[in-house]
């Protein structure tokens, strides 16, 4: 269980997160929706320990990750895996080496076992073994996402974070990535946080949805509850109405 309590963060005097309170139940997929630039990725970076808040807590099984440093923080991070918006694949390594990277860094597995596991993950992501020899700049956007998901999944994480997993993908690839998220979640049972503004596609993977607006969570519930939420801001967002103030 992950609990975020009164999380506040500002950059150069501009408040981005203004007292966030959110729970991510164990083994469930929680989706955070909201307009671009509202602070969804900033929230995610606080939970994985990449950013420190001005105040507030992020409790992972009761341990406040914002106060952890050094080895304890590293140990905590071993429980996480993150699928970054652009994939964040290492340019200098080919696909095989990218997926094998966490195993080489964090385990003492033999080369044969590493190879077996990498090929297994490639197959799980519907990628042929030949893709392993390609470099990230030779891949399409969808393939990059799948390779990044394979690299995340090979760590067998307890908690997965997805930062805009389908942004920039075409509809079939969007469905493929959501299908892979659902599939890997069913197989592994991880707790997940998905940050996305892809409405309504993202509802297909969500157990719970929270909407972030002006630095606060303004709505929380199941996808059905959110779709029928009384708040006009939520309705305006999920129906994609033109925001004249922003436009």
């Amino acid at each position: 269980m992950i609990q975020i309590i009164d999380l506040v963060k500002s950059f150069n005097g501009q408040v981005v997160l203004d007292g966030i309170n959110l729970e991510m139940p164990q083994g469930k997929i929680t989706v955070v929706i909201g307009k671009s630039g509202v602070g969804k990725s900033v929230l995610l970076k606080h939970i994985v320990g990449l950013l420190k808040p001005d105040s507030g807590q992020v409790l992972v099984d009761g341990v406040d990750i914002t106060r952890l440093t050094g080895r304890k923080l590293q140990e905590m991070k071993k429980r996480f895996a993150v699928l970054f918006q652009g994939g964040a694949l290492f340019d200098s390594l080919n696909v095989f080496e990218n997926i094998a990277f966490p195993l080489r860094e964090k385990t003492l597995l033999s080369e044969t076992e590493i190879r077996r596991r990498v090929l297994e993950r490639l197959e799980q992501m519907n990628l042929s073994p030949e893709v392993g020899d390609k470099f990230p700049d030779e891949l399409s956007g969808g393939m990059k996402k799948r390779v990044a998901l394979a690299r995340a999944m090979i760590q067998e994480p307890e908690i997965m974070f997805f930062d805009e997993p389908v942004t920039g993908l075409d509809p079939p690839m969007t469905n493929t990535v959501f299908h892979l998220i659902t599939k890997t979640h069913q197989e592994s049972g991880y707790t997940a946080l998905v940050v996305s503004h892809d409405i309504p596609d993202v509802f297909q993977v969500a157990d719970f949805v929270a909407m972030l607006h002006q630095g606060r969570i303004i709505a929380y519930g199941t996808p059905q509850e959110i779709q029928h939420h009384a708040n006009p801001v939520v309705q305006s967002f999920i129906h994609g109405e033109v925001d004249f103030l922003e436009a």
Partner: protein, 256 residues
């Protein structure tokens, strides 16, 4: 007037803060060399990037520098009938000053800018964040091997520069202008003392560390996308050149 003072004060404060942050960055980077895992393979990759790939440009610069020094030196020394001291003039100029400084400037232009661009792109494409979330310290995986490689590669490149420059001087002085081969080398042996060589080594160590520190620091703190990478790369080349020349003055004053 008060505004001007405030402006200057702010500028000096930010300069001091930046220098402090860079020093902490250096200490963290070097300190991680003593913490496992030791990253020997990464160190060798960086030696290849910073050292081996800079060899050609260092060889070319050294050869032409030695040739020019011999040409200039020959006509100056001939006025006093001291052509025999040409070897000494070329070697001392190269070992004390030209070797360390020109090698550092060449490495800064070729490898320093490449290091900044590489780390800067890793920053803006979240590759550094990805390392962090995999519980791999990006400072240890990316920065530390580069710092150590800079510390090892630049003195070696400087040695290559010195030898190549002396041979370039030999080609012009002895083969082309007819200075005696024996006097070229014997004047060199008589005038170059261990202090000259040690001074050159110390300079190249300091320059190597400075160049790669600036390159890593600027790359690591890149912001604002592709334009930010371009700006950081530019700053690396300018700042490391200025620092190399400033350090050169300070270190020369110690070794005189």
């Amino acid at each position: 007037m008060v505004n001007l003072l405030c402006l200057w004060g702010g500028w000096v404060l930010s300069l001091v803060q930046d220098a402090g942050r860079m020093m902490l960055f250096l200490l963290e980077g070097l300190g991680l060399a003593f913490v496992p895992p030791f990253r020997g393979r990464r160190f060798l990759q960086e030696i290849q990037l910073i050292g081996v790939k800079s060899c050609l440009i260092v060889l070319l610069t050294a050869a032409f520098t030695g040739m020019v020094l011999a040409l200039q030196g020959y006509y100056t020394l001939r006025k006093y009938g001291s052509e025999g001291a040409l070897g000494s003039a070329v070697a001392l100029s190269l070992i004390r000053e030209m070797g360390p400084v020109l090698t550092a400037l060449m490495v800064s232009a070729r490898a320093g800018s490449a290091v900044t661009a590489e780390i800067g792109i890793m920053r803006i494409t979240e590759q550094l964040d990805a390392l962090d979330t995999m519980a791999v310290n990006p400072m240890q995986y990316v920065v530390m091997p580069k710092l150590i490689a800079g510390l090892v590669a630049v003195p070696l490149l400087t040695a290559i520069f010195d030898v190549t420059g002396i041979m370039g001087g030999y080609l012009i002085g002895v083969v082309l202008l007819g200075v005696s081969s024996g006097s070229y080398f014997s004047s060199m042996v008589q005038s170059v003392v261990p202090l000259d060589i040690n001074g050159g080594i110390v300079k190249s160590l300091v320059f190597g560390l400075t160049i790669i520190l600036v390159a890593c620091y600027k790359g690591y703190h890149t912001e604002h996308g592709a334009e930010g990478v371009s700006r950081a790369t530019n700053q690396t080349v300018v700042l490391s050149a200025i620092l190399v020349l400033a350090w050169d003055y300070v270190l020369t004053s110690f070794f005189m």
